[in-house]
């Protein structure tokens, strides 16, 4: 039975390659080689820690723990990426849960991601196996670490699968993304905090390692060192902790698996009912009218739909708090441009957000005036809150960091970046549309298989657009610092003019492209329904 699972997974892993031919296959092979080289370098880098044994163990204890957390969170954020690990697919087959669990474990360890992890872990074994006589022990430890990661990750995702199959659960899952983002911010603050004497990071890692070595992944990283120095008592304790962790994870997975096979979750439990807000009376006549109708709907959905709400909460943190915490000294106001670019990104993939629901617009938005109105409507849904967030962030930073003299230039650069990325995001919506998974299982599962390249091009393109449009204002800003402060005001005017121009051009080009390619765009974005 395990062989059947293994061959099923192997077919799925290789089917993508088999299905492609010609140039695409060549590119996939090139990509695989590049990734293999990157992973090889990573493994080599980790392996070189062998040269500094006093740091190797504490660093790897932290890395092992981080790796485990990464494995646990990935399926929660992108559950459903791999159907061979979804227990619901096997519920109707006459397979005992124990056999199924072993089979699912097999499918979980076959794949590019586990392989890459294993290669890097070999590097870790080289680093930990000092002297070489304990290398076999280190090797056993890294194999156990991979098993621990896989088993715990499956246990977590299986026990969450019931929750994630209801809309209410998925909506709650969106909040997880925000929590992780805030945790990242806290982490950055911690290592980048006021205690910048150069030793903070080092003492932080050593301190963390002293605690983490009593957790299963930490114990596995510490074990070879303990064996090497002959501390058999601690080594036995570490081994017990690691094995107990693995057994506990296996048990948790088995319980969750048995439950998930016989429980049908509610799929219709609603999260947020529609409010009875005031009735919108704008009418889709002319560009302005259509823009008001479209923006009215977008405004409602930003409040109601977690997929649209959570990014804005993150953006507020990213735009206001991130420059404040990370960029020290004067000039931090310009770091707001980073968040501004991503505020503009909220106008991205306008035609793909609703999946095949786009047909409703295909039936109603049929002329250039309405098509332009739609683009403007989506754009102002990103621009209005984006402008508020950017201005508040600049104001706070200018006051706290006493950066008043940079105020006009910062507004010019940041608003140009906002408008530029909004314009680029709009145009790319029609030029490089991509399907968004409509099952909404994850905040970060933003593309469907086969369209990852499109998603990447669209994402990088809008950043490029923001940078390009902000460039004239940025040049004027440099002049304001080197030649005369009056250039700051020039930057403000340049930023606003370039931004407005970019938006005007983008609205026309996007609308034309949408009308010319409506059925093709519809075919591309409809793929989101199936995921």
């Amino acid at each position: 039975m395990v062989g059947v699972f293994a061959s099923l997974k192997w077919r799925l892993v290789t089917s993508r390659l088999r299905a492609t031919k010609g140039a695409t296959r060549a590119w996939l092979i090139v990509l695989a080689v590049v990734l293999a080289i990157v992973v090889g370098f990573l493994a080599f880098g980790v392996g070189t820690l062998r040269l500094v044994p006093e740091y190797a163990t504490p660093i790897l204890i932290s890395l092992f723990a981080l790796q485990l957390v990464g494995w646990m969170l990935t399926p929660l954020l992108a559950f459903g990426v791999d159907e061979t690990v979804d227990p619901a697919r096997f519920a109707l087959l006459p397979i005992r849960p124990q056999t199924l669990q072993v089979g699912l474990l097999t499918t979980s360890v076959i794949g590019f991601f586990p392989l890459a992890n294993f290669v890097v872990l070999i590097g870790a074994a080289v680093a930990l196996g000092v002297p070489w006589s304990v290398f076999p022990v280190a090797l056993v430890c890294v194999v156990l670490q991979l098993l621990l990661c896989v088993v715990l990750s499956r246990a977590a995702s299986t026990s969450m699968s019931a929750l994630m199959s209801s809309r209410r659960g998925r909506d709650l899952g969106m909040a997880l993304g925000l929590v992780i983002f805030l945790a990242y911010m806290a982490f950055v603050t911690l290592i980048n905090g006021p205690n910048q004497n150069g030793g903070a990071l080092q003492s932080g890692v050593t301190g963390a390692a002293s605690v983490l070595q009593w957790t299963p992944p930490g114990a596995l990283a510490a074990l070879p060192g303990l064996v090497a120095v002959g501390d058999w008592g601690s080594a036995a304790l570490s081994a017990a902790i690691a094995l107990a962790g693995l057994a506990l994870a296996w048990w948790w997975w088995s319980v969750a698996l048995r439950r998930s096979l016989v429980t049908v979750p509610s799929t219709t439990a609603g999260s947020s009912p529609a409010g009875r807000g005031h009735a919108d009376t704008s009418i889709g006549v002319g560009v302005a009218g259509t823009a008001r109708v479209v923006a009215g709907r977008d405004r409602v959905l930003v409040w109601r739909d977690p997929m649209r709400r959570m990014p804005w909460l993150m953006l507020i943190v990213l735009t206001v708090a991130w420059p404040f915490l990370v960029v020290h000294g004067k000039g931090a106001v310009f770091a707001v441009a980073f968040g501004a670019v991503f505020c503009g990104a909220q106008a991205g993939n306008q035609y793909g957000v609703e999946g095949s629901g786009l047909w409703l617009h295909l039936q109603t938005i049929t002329d250039r005036v309405r098509a332009r109105g739609e683009v403007v409507g989506h754009a102002i849904t990103a621009l209005i809150p984006g402008t508020v967030v950017v201005l508040v962030a600049i104001a706070i930073l200018a006051v706290v960091r006493d950066d008043y003299d940079k105020f006009p230039a910062a507004i010019g650069v940041c608003l140009a970046a906002l408008m530029g990325s909004t314009a680029a995001a709009s145009y790319l919506s029609a030029r490089v549309p991509y399907a968004q998974p409509q099952s909404r299982k994850s905040l970060f599962a933003s593309s469907v298989p086969g369209q990852k390249g499109r998603t990447l091009i669209a994402s990088l393109g809008l950043i490029g657009g923001g940078v390009l449009v902000a460039l004239p204002a940025a040049v004027a800003t440099v002049l304001s610092m080197t030649v005369a402060p009056v250039w700051g005001w020039v930057a403000l005017v340049l930023g606003l003019v370039c931004g407005a121009l970019a938006l005007w051009i983008a609205a026309r080009m996007t609308a034309n492209r949408f009308l010319d390619q409506a059925t093709e765009i519809f075919a591309v974005v409809s793929a989101g329904d199936r995921v």
Binding site: T268, A274, R297, T519, D529
Partner: protein
């Protein structure tokens, strides 16, 4: 059939010169055809669509008289949904003409789409809006006055028995409710032609009765309904006209009685037309004999 609409079958979004409604020329004879089919709610001429070189719809001609209740029937994969997608402007044809209510759908989509109401099968709606919000949004997007939209959508919601939906999001609607709210959206602007793809598929009997009543009332008022289905009894009970599709072609079309001919039911006539056979006697003898 005049000059065909042509379309590249390459990766559509990488095409440098995309086919477009703007790019489609007003070819000679276009207005002649429109005049010729003046009495028809829908006229198809040489409509063709291939996927990967395999024809899904193969040069079909079809006339649907004004005021008829027209059933498009055929087995799965016959090309019904592909045909309706090309008629409704959701799929660009490779060749052919679609004249709906006197307007060429692919040369004047704005006028054509104002005259049609569409209920597609299996497509999503704006899921996070409630039914009333969806109707209000679509009505206003069409440029209808807000008070007219409000009055009509309130009446449609009452008639289609969607009151219970209240402020529930479309995402939480049952299949029957989804079909009904889509039908309401299709009727909102009082179109001349309704195009419905499997309108009663997976719908409970109560909702099905309501939908049938509304459609009958619509045709009684002079509207034309064109709907696809593979439920023969339904087509036989509702339709005045029928077309049978198989393998991407129309193999019979006309008034229901004419298509049925001497067969005892439309079902029998259909089986004969598409060349399907019952399971032969003696086949599958192992069924039910032992568990695997």
């Amino acid at each position: 059939m005049g000059n065909p609409i042509t379309n590249s079958n390459q990766d559509p979004l990488s095409a440098t010169n995309p086919p477009s409604n703007a790019a489609i020329p007003m070819y000679p004879g276009a207005s002649d055809l429109v005049r010729q089919v003046a009495g028809q709610a829908l006229a198809l001429r040489g409509l063709t669509k291939s996927f990967g070189g395999k024809p899904a719809v193969d040069h079909i001609d079809l006339d649907v008289p004004v005021g008829s209740f027209f059933g498009l029937v055929g087995p799965n994969g016959a090309g019904k949904t592909t045909t309706l997608s090309m008629v409704t402007g959701l799929l660009t044809p490779d060749e052919g003409r679609v004249i709906l209510a006197g307007v060429d759908v692919w040369t004047d989509p704005t006028a054509a789409k104002a005259r049609m109401g569409v209920l597609p099968d299996g497509l999503r709606l704006f899921e996070r809006l409630s039914g009333p919000e969806l109707l209000s949004y679509l009505g206003r997007l069409r440029g209808m006055p807000a008070d007219v939209v409000a009055a009509r959508s309130a009446e449609l919601i009452r008639v289609l028995d969607l009151d219970e939906a209240g402020n529930k999001l479309v995402a939480d609607y049952s299949t029957g409710m989804r079909k009904k709210v889509t039908l309401a959206a299709a009727l909102l602007h009082s179109p001349a032609v309704l195009l419905l793809d499997e309108p009663l598929e997976a719908v409970d009997p109560v909702s099905a009765r309501i939908i049938r009543n509304v459609l009958s009332r619509y045709t009684a008022g002079g509207g034309t309904v064109i709907f696809s289905s593979h439920v023969m009894a339904l087509v036989e009970g509702l339709c005045s006209h029928v077309a049978v599709m198989a393998g991407g072609r129309i193999i019979a079309a006309g008034e229901l009685a004419a298509v049925r001919g001497s067969a005892p039911s439309l079902d029998d006539a259909f089986m004969h037309l598409v060349g399907a056979a019952d399971v032969e006697e003696g086949g599958l003898s192992w069924l039910g004999s032992s568990p695997a």
